[in-house]
């Protein structure tokens, strides 16, 4: 496209430019949509699915500790749960306050349909990557 052009061409150029901007922003939007789950977030989502109705802070943290084999900061679990809730992958409901917890209520977490879809998508991608791995593994060890 020529850089210098007549006045008659100007509306057309501005329209093309605006279309390019729209395309650019649509790419950014798509990038945000296609962002895959982080390692910790995926672990938490799997723990939430695994625990079902009883998914709140304590069992989720214990499940993560059991699987990872090291201590987990419960605050970091809650920070990740908040992020997932903001993304719409889980939703939470408050339970009744109990004396065993010093009068504090439990916050139960459930996975949403979008969360399930993302878990499956991540699993598909990871499976494909793992399937390609034995060749690499063989070459590394040989």
């Amino acid at each position: 496209m020529p850089l210098l052009c007549s006045n008659a061409d100007r509306p057309q150029i501005s329209m093309l430019t605006s279309l390019r901007y729209l395309y650019f922003f649509s790419i950014i939007e798509l990038m945000a949509d296609r962002s895959y789950l982080g390692e910790f977030e995926l672990m938490i989502l799997l723990a939430v699915i695994n625990l079902g109705e009883e998914a709140y802070g304590v069992p989720i943290s214990r499940e993560l500790e059991r699987c990872r084999g090291r201590d987990v900061v419960v605050g970091s679990v809650y920070a990740a749960l908040e992020r997932l809730e903001t993304k719409g992958l889980i939703h939470s409901t408050l339970g009744e306050p109990t004396a065993e917890r010093g009068g504090k209520a439990k916050r139960y977490f459930r996975i949403t349909n979008e969360g399930l879809r993302q878990v499956h998508e991540t699993r598909r991608v990871l499976s494909q990557l793992w399937q390609a791995l034995p060749e690499l593994k063989r070459s590394v060890y040989e």
Binding site: Y56, G57, V58, S61, D71, V73, V74, G75, S76, Y78, A79, L81, E82, L94, P97, E100, R101, G102, K104, A105, K106, R107
Partner: protein
């Protein structure tokens, strides 16, 4: 499950100083774990971890505010220089230095704090207007709370810094054998150190290419009369020389300039910080 309670101090810290949103659920989870046999050390570690994670997340979500506070405080030395010139002029015009104590101290303190507070409030107004244009909502209660908090933080940090600087100067210029003690002489405005009366004296030295402003703090120190009756006088340049132009003061990056900007940065940051938990924590501390 036993009825062991978690340590009180970390429990209070978690309740009042955490910036996260799930405080109640988190606190309940930690109590449940302690009653299931977790140790106090584990509880402390969890609380400190939660506080760090909560505040880091909060700072990340307020990064616009942090950047604005840093940029606005960059301008503070330039404004202070202009304000000091005006204040010196006004002080001479109103004969403030000839007033008796405590009026002289009160007037000079007001002349020192008023321009700085105006600078902070203008910064707040600027940020709030920009946020309103960006579609954010502010209510009057929050703004009033921010004004009070910003003012309190500025006065507290400035007083702490001034006290530290004075103490450092006294310690630096005092020999071990002749350690002087600040003592109150008979009535008169001169018994209050000049630094306490509203900052250093300023003299403009006209140079060939540029003007220089020299700040001098005259601290009159008397020795303990029971120990050595001979008084002596201590003089020292607080900051040797610096640019006389406001632009030069803004771009200055010395340690003194950074320290000068610190109260402004913290005041603007605290005043505009909209974390509900922080203010409730401060309220409970005040109570």
């Amino acid at each position: 499950m036993s009825s062991i309670d978690p340590p009180r101090l970390p429990a209070w810290m978690l309740e009042h100083l955490n910036a996260g949103n799930s405080n109640e659920a988190l606190a309940g989870d930690l109590v449940e774990e302690v009653r299931c046999g977790r140790s106090a050390v584990w509880y402390w570690r969890q609380v400190l971890g939660a506080l760090v994670i909560g505040w880091l997340g909060n700072i990340r979500s307020h990064r616009n505010l942090v950047v604005f506070a840093a940029l606005w405080s960059m301008l503070a030395p330039g404004w202070t220089l202009v304000a000091m010139r005006v204040a010196e002029h006004e002080a001479e015009a109103w004969h403030i230095w000839r007033l008796d104590w405590p009026w002289s101290s009160l007037c000079s303190t007001a002349l020192f704090f008023a321009p700085s507070l105006i600078f902070i409030w203008v910064g707040m107004a600027f940020y709030i207007v920009a946020q309103i244009f960006a579609g954010k909502h502010f209510n009057l209660r929050r703004m009033g709370r921010g004004l009070l908090l910003g003012t309190s933080v500025f006065i507290a940090v400035s007083a702490a810094l001034a006290g530290s600087v004075m103490l450092f100067q006294l310690l630096e210029h005092t020999e071990v054998q002749q350690r002087p003690m600040l003592s109150i002489a008979p009535a008169g405005p001169s018994f209050v150190p000049k630094a306490l009366m509203g900052g250093p004296e300023m003299t403009v030295v006209h140079g060939k290419h540029s003007n220089e402003v020299r700040f001098t703090t005259r601290v009159q120190v008397q020795q303990n009369p029971f120990w050595a009756p001979q008084p002596f006088r201590l003089e020292r340049d607080v900051s040797a020389t610096r640019s006389s132009s406001p632009l030069g003061a803004i771009t200055e990056s010395s340690a003194w300039a950074v320290v000068n900007r610190l109260p402004f940065f913290l005041s603007v940051l605290f005043a505009l910080w909209t974390t509900r938990r922080l203010t409730s924590g401060l309220k409970s501390i005040v109570r």
